[in-house]
Assembly symmetry: C5
């Protein structure tokens, strides 16, 4: 157990040893083991965007065992997926990588101005599949936010009792938030803070832009001179918004893009104090070798050295 991992665990004083063990399992697995940094492979795009849009470009991905292998071989800290994919391979790869069961999901066959995902699995499923934790998406800004906050409050209480880590994907979205505002710095920092107050052990948000959505917030950002010019600045503000850095905050990779662009973004995130990345499409839509190379680049950016 490295001092850094021990330090991070010390922030979770309300949790039982079971939860600490599962947080440690993730932090002590893969190429970043012991650094306190995390790179996680999530694959819920089949559910979110459909199988062809997710896997046709690299058809090995139609088989969920491919993603297990990719996560294992690249040395990710954990692999996150919906029920079906984990059920398909959890026995085959038992014990080879920490798993996160994504317990709510949504698809794009219906679009709703009050977005909310469906609870497609439960804590019992995470336990029988040997998972280290659960993942849950909230959409602050949605008219359904009460519903979602209460779903995760219930699931989270149950998970914590069972010794599972709780990861909240926090994406502000809804009728009263502009498209640009969804990734605005004030909104991302707010969404991250809500996730911490809901009791998340790990918070996942998108990399923020310098856009500011809410008038009441803009006044404060200006009056207090909060730095939001560079991605590193903004990352620092988001991390600060999560109990002054005492909660693990990781960032998603977003839309598919070029390797250079990704590594540049990741370096900025790392400079700003991000705890890591959760990178889906940009990883599994590349050929395996290329994907592993990219993931290693990302890991090295967070480690701050060659691994």
């Amino acid at each position: 157990m490295t001092p850094r991992v021990r330090e991070i665990l010390s922030w979770y004083g309300a949790d039982n040893p079971g939860v600490l063990t599962n947080l440690a399992r993730m932090m002590n697995h893969g190429k970043l083991a012991g650094t306190g940094k995390l790179v996680i492979l999530p694959v819920d795009q089949g559910f979110e965007h459909g199988p062809a849009r997710s896997f046709a470009i690299n058809p090995d991905g139609y088989d969920p065992s491919y993603h297990f292998q990719l996560a294992i071989e690249s040395g990710c800290n954990a692999y996150a997926a919906p029920l079906g994919a984990l059920e398909a391979c959890a026995r085959e790869f038992a014990g080879e990588i920490p798993l996160l069961l994504k317990i709510n999901n949504s698809d794009t066959l219906y679009g709703n101005k009050a977005p909310i995902s469906a609870l497609t699995s439960h804590i019992d499923d995470a336990l029988r599949l040997g998972c280290a934790g659960i993942g849950f998406t909230i959409y602050p800004g949605s008219a359904e936010r009460k519903h979602m906050y209460e779903e995760i409050a219930m699931a989270s209480a149950e998970a914590k009792k069972a010794g599972l880590a709780v990861v909240i994907w926090s994406y502000a979205r809804g009728e009263q938030i502009s498209k640009e505002g969804e990734t605005g710095i004030d909104v991302i920092a707010y969404a991250a803070h809500i996730a911490t107050q809901l009791g998340a052990h790990i918070v996942k948000v998108k990399p923020p832009t310098s856009f500011i959505e809410q008038d009441a917030a803009r006044k404060v950002y200006q009056a207090q001179g909060i730095k939001v010019d560079t991605l590193a600045d903004r990352t620092r503000h988001v991390v600060q918004s999560c109990f002054n850095g005492k909660r693990i905050v990781i960032f998603s990779g977003g839309e598919a893009k070029g390797t250079e662009e990704i590594l540049k973004e990741v370096k900025d995130l790392a400079t700003g104090g991000a705890f890591g990345s959760i990178m889906g499409r940009n990883a599994f839509q590349r050929p395996k070798k290329e994907a592993i190379q990219l993931l290693h680049g990302v890991m090295e950016a967070f480690a701050g050295k060659a691994l």
Copy 2:
């Protein structure tokens, strides 16, 4: 136990021996026993369309024992029906054919732009009636999809604990999907994938057309050159979309039609790697002898030889 059935069972590594036993019961029953192929007789049309529209053309069908007999005599792998029909005959035919309790149903005395079926029975009913599994319909694309995904998530968890197989009828339908799109290849593949991610052991969809509904999908189908010209191609794509063929996918017969047409369609499905058919009206609305003949034709198409 044939090697093929053993292979198929190996894909369900998260399930208990009870579930495997029931999957095996279905795969080892009837004329297709041991082939890993399935032909299932479903009779929920009385509920869905009313008794006269379902049974007047072959009035023996007013009596649910007729459908048990048809499924048994024709050598189907299983018989699926709503609560009432199974309650009426489960004792008389106990042990003669694996049963699937269709736990949700809808009727056509009210039409809803946000379609959803009603939960008309439960796992306990399936157990007391000696069923091998449950059937459940989801309508991805409906405004009520969250509700349905959560219903099957609950029912499925309970079923799996009790050793029952879970069959999901996945029919995309709703305000934002065109009539043509309901059977479009992108939508069918997506609907099938959702069912697998929800944890279905067996997925049932309609045979897909070459129509593509979603713009975002069309780009990918074109860019990646996904073959969708023939029904066999499309079947292959749907099967691939279900964990690269590691989930049982069967196809419904659809509207009543001629024997030639049915057998042609079934051969294409078989060529594309379908695991079988679930054939209702086309079977039970024909005179018994003719129906048995047709079902045998279908079975032989899947077996790839005379039986």
Copy 3:
């Protein structure tokens, strides 16, 4: 136990001896005992239409003990009423007549285009009051049908476990059904079939007219030459629609009317194979002696002989 009652019980192969005992209690009580025919007195009109509209014409009916007495003295097979009425008299008349607790009710102080009754009592109430079964109204065709089907699915499962008979009042009604269509033959047959698929032991519908509501149904009625000219024909079709006659189907008396008219209707129902009548207002709104006379006429029509 007569051979006919034994035969009818044989259709309920999924039920426990408790349910069979209660079905037998009803079939073996009163003047029609042993015939397999049933005449039931239901009194929920006070709840449905208000006390004055129900009882002023024969004020003895304000007292629920009057209806117990009427049902007992006339030799009905059972008496059905809401919670309050049964609570008022169940001790006084304990063991004198099989009781059905009507567990859902509605009133006419508010009219809803999506009709649904309220669950005003539960299985435990039926048990503590010594009832033989429960009664439940569904309105197929209502936008609330999912809600109702799920309520009866829950109540029915509990009732069956407790050995209680389940009687479903099935009245199609709702935005998409015309007033005339509510009693149209296609709709009545469909509503009756839905009740059987929901697992009812006894189905109650209104006498059907020759009107056909649904276009898709009309085509089939014409193409298959289904006879719907006489009430006897239509009754035969409804009974056939209930598992080919293997479920008890009884008919309500409907609006208050003349004795001649009632007896004519009942004879037609009997000719068509109806299992009996459930006759409320036409019985309890007549003076007792006259009511008994009428009920005896009805019973004799079903018995096919003087009793």
Copy 4:
């Protein structure tokens, strides 16, 4: 135990000795003990109309102990109030007067065309506070009636099991009922009847006027010559509508008004066979001495003699 109280208890043949004991506790307490008549002090006006509108005129009433004292000193049969007020004083006055916990309440900071109260306490609260029963308001005529009927069905079943008396405040109100109709004789009689069918031990309604709201009812009132000219007539009709007088029906005092007027109304109610009054504002908004005098007048009107 007087013969009259014993007679009244005999009407509740479905209830356990616990419920009978609590009904007897109320009937055998206070100045009307043993007469079978009841005068109850209810104080939920603070919740319903706000504290100033309820208590400023007689500021002793800000303190809930004042109402306990008033009810005890005046010799009421019972005192009814929401959770907070009973919690405040139940220990101090333990055993001095039967208590009714009003388990649902509403306020006037929001007005709803589909009125429904909130469940603000539960059976367990009634038990730990030593109550003799619970009070619950239904609004027949509200679009939310199903919801309310089901809430009281659940609460009532639990209360009866625990030996508590169930008092239903039945006030018809809603979109389809005119203001005048809310106290029309047909509506009041109907609302009272619904409460009895829901299983109330005691029904509380407002004194009815001679107005008739529903056309279908008017025809019957005229055809059957139901007397509704005097308040005594109307009271008689309401009492008759409650199982022909075999359920306890009490009447509220309504708007604050003069002593003469109140006593006149109460005498008419008594003449018509009412079982008593539930008098709030008219009692507690008067100075204590005056209030006690008034309550004694009311009690004497029901007793038919000086007490």
Copy 5:
């Protein structure tokens, strides 16, 4: 145990010794220990307004341990916060200050004309974190009030059984209340009274203005000559509205403002009989030393002497 604290505890005659112990823990902690007065530090602004708007002005506040320290060092009676903040520090500061878990919260990324908070934690969380009680916000005047009253009724019953104190934040707000009316004296008094009737041990409201919102109330305020000119008068009326002063009523500090203004307001509240203040932004947004000075000033105002 001072006589005053003993006196206050005597008002809670329905509560178990566990609740009394926790009320005493709060009243016997900090600089105001034993006076029967309370100053509480609440920090839910991060959730309610976002992290930058709450903490940027005094960035130490990004770290929840800062607020624990501020509450402890200033000698507050208790510290109140949402789940995440308490989980972060409850172990570190275990036993150093009584904690209140704010179990429902809302954010400003979505605005709703029918305001309601989300239940983000539960009684079990309060117990495992060693809290003395729970906090819950109701919005009387919201179309969702039934929902909220029922949530707190459930949570409160559970809390009381577990020996936890129940603090209700009562803020009238909704479609039918004007902005000015939200702090009008009639509305504040009414909101406070509702909280007491819901069973709160401690009621929190905003300082009322002399505005009167409801016509029906205005008549009474005028007719009865209720004094509402000074804040002390109005405070007296609010305290009276809470069981004539037999419930603890504390007042929030409201919008950020100058020290003079705050102390003036607090003195008026103290003169009017308030039991204390719950002061968030005005405390934690000041530099620590200044904040402690301010809080001491507030405490001395309530103590009526230097501390």
